[in-house]
């Protein structure tokens, strides 16, 4: 176990130490103490490491995450796991706005609430939020899945492409071109898999409603010309 205390060690030293593991893994388990809201903690990890961050982090924690697992035992600021590629990121507390934005793969789990724009422009990432998500979540979401065990705020899935949205609680409002869809067997199987992967065993996939694209914005409709 490698322990890095950010009250005595520079952030760059931590991230450089994590990148050094890309050459040859000498230490798989890392513990980060006193993050004190620092930005860019444990970004771009590309080695099979387990990084446990004890405390709350600021902007862009675990951004561009590639391989391994980052667990934040606290809350995360804006843009956690932004553009994550693969691997796993777990936030034990709450996540601020645009969690998992533009993510291309991997699994982001938020055990508390995520605020606005969760999964905005997601492109393949799977996001599981145990609490609620804020307004404009999954805006222009292209692929991947957003699973919300609580409620969703205004304009869920506005201008959505082919991402799948599963919400267990209430949706305050749906965004443009986002509609409720039938939950078929393949969706139940998919959702069960995501819940399993997120370590959530106390809810059933049948409790969720699926939302997705009505596909009416895919092609320009001349009747809408006056709207622009």
């Amino acid at each position: 176990m490698q322990t890095v205390d950010l009250s005595t060690t520079e952030l760059r030293e931590l991230n450089a130490g994590l990148y050094a593991q890309m050459e040859a893994v000498t230490e798989t388990d890392w513990e980060v103490l006193n993050p004190r809201g620092h930005h860019a903690v444990a970004v771009g990890i590309n080695a099979p490491l387990n990084v446990d961050v004890h405390g709350s982090v600021g902007y862009y924690c675990a951004g561009m995450h590639q391989v391994g697992t980052v667990t934040v035992h606290g809350s995360a600021g804006p843009g956690v796991a932004e553009n994550m590629m693969s691997g796993k990121v777990v936030i034990k507390g709450d996540a601020s706005q645009y969690a998992g934005a533009t993510g291309r793969g991997g699994l982001l789990v938020v055990e508390g609430n995520a605020s606005s724009r969760c999964g905005i422009s997601m492109k393949g990432i799977n996001i599981v939020v145990r609490g609620n998500v804020g307004h404009m979540s999954a805006f222009m979401a292209q692929s991947g899945n957003l699973v919300v065990l609580g409620d969703a705020g205004d304009a869920l899935g506005d201008s959505i492409y082919e991402a799948g949205l599963f919400v267990r609680g209430a949706v305050k409002s749906l965004g443009a071109d986002c509609i409720a869809k039938e939950m078929r067997d393949e969706h139940v199987t998919l959702l069960q898999g995501l819940l399993d992967e997120a370590g959530i065993r106390d809810v059933s996939p049948t409790e969720f409603t699926r939302y997705g694209s009505a596909r009416t914005l895919y092609h320009f409709n001349i009747d809408n010309a006056a709207a622009y």
Binding site: G58, D94, S96, Q97, S116, H135
Partner: protein
């Protein structure tokens, strides 16, 4: 980008620490706003206080009490702090002193007036501003600080926050308003005077106008959601109140923390990490278009 910090003390034993806690928070927000910084501190309400700033303090403050006495025959107590001076007088004399100050020329500007508030602001790094005005030595019931990265108007002392447009009122802002010119025209028509071209001053004057019509801070902020367009996280102070409001889109960051001892605001959690008992505080992100306010 700008940085906002705020503290509203609930446990009176912490009042003597207000300035030192706020100073630490303000300096943490330096990289969000290195252009200029400012803060409003609410001390124990007493006689009327007018805080002024001068571009030429050596000349203007050489005998400020004497200048005011000869201009309007009012005796004020004067406390000098770098480019700022705090004048104390009985409240019935405040208008006469204001008029005298205005007639003393353009180099003296009124920062704030009220029974509790003092506002200090200058161009420069937050740490320098805090040190020049000895923020860490100040005590009081609540305080609001701002670090500015200018977007809507020039980097000047008058463009720094907080803005005060009414007795014991102040407002700081992270964001930019898009309908401030129109709103300013409407307020000017109601007889309100503006010192700058700054969008935040319009927001402050808008709220002052609501309060002048008898609304409480919460109602004034509710009304602001309807009338103000743009990006904003506002933190507002009154003599006995402390309020927070974010626009409905809520792009501008905000974190609130509350314990039995205080309510604290930071643009980022980083600003709050040194507060006593923060590990066990209730920490949350204020909801968009939702008014939060505390009064004592």
């Amino acid at each position: 980008m700008c940085g906002i910090v705020g503290l509203f003390i609930k446990d009176k034993t912490l009042e003597s620490e207000l300035g030192s806690m706020l100073s630490d928070m303000l300096i943490t927000m330096t990289d969000r706003g290195p252009d200029s910084a400012g803060f409003a501190v609410y001390g124990a309400p007493g006689e009327m206080k007018i805080t002024v700033q001068s571009t030429d303090p050596e000349a203007d403050f050489a005998d400020l009490a004497g200048d005011i006495r000869s201009a309007c025959d009012v005796s004020c107590e004067v406390m000098l702090k770098d480019t700022h001076a705090v004048l104390q007088m009985t409240s019935d004399k405040a208008d006469a002193v204001r008029t005298a100050l205005r007639e003393m020329g353009d180099s003296i500007r009124i920062m704030s007036a009220g029974e509790a508030i003092e506002i200090y602001k200058e161009v420069g790094l937050p740490g320098e501003v805090s040190e020049r005005f000895e923020l860490s030595q100040m005590s009081g019931s609540h305080a609001i600080g701002h670090t500015r990265m200018a977007t809507e108007s020039a980097v000047t002392t008058m463009g720094a926050h907080p803005f005060s447009t009414g007795a014991d009122q102040c407002l700081v802002h992270n964001g930019s308003l898009s309908n401030h010119n129109n709103l300013r025209r409407e307020l000017v028509r109601k007889g309100i005077h503006f010192e700058t071209e700054n969008d935040t001053e319009v927001a402050a004057a808008y709220l002052s106008n609501c309060l002048a019509q008898g609304m409480n801070l919460g109602a004034a902020l509710e009304s602001g959601i309807e009338d103000m367009d743009g990006f904003y996280t506002f933190v507002v102070g009154t003599k006995n109140g402390f309020g927070v409001l974010r626009d409905p889109i809520a792009c501008k960051p905000a974190v609130l923390a509350e314990t039995d001892q205080y309510v604290a605001f930071g643009s980022e959690y980083r600003a709050l990490v040194n507060l006593p008992g923060i590990e066990d505080a209730k920490v949350w992100e204020p909801e968009p278009a939702t008014v939060y306010f505390w009064e004592r």
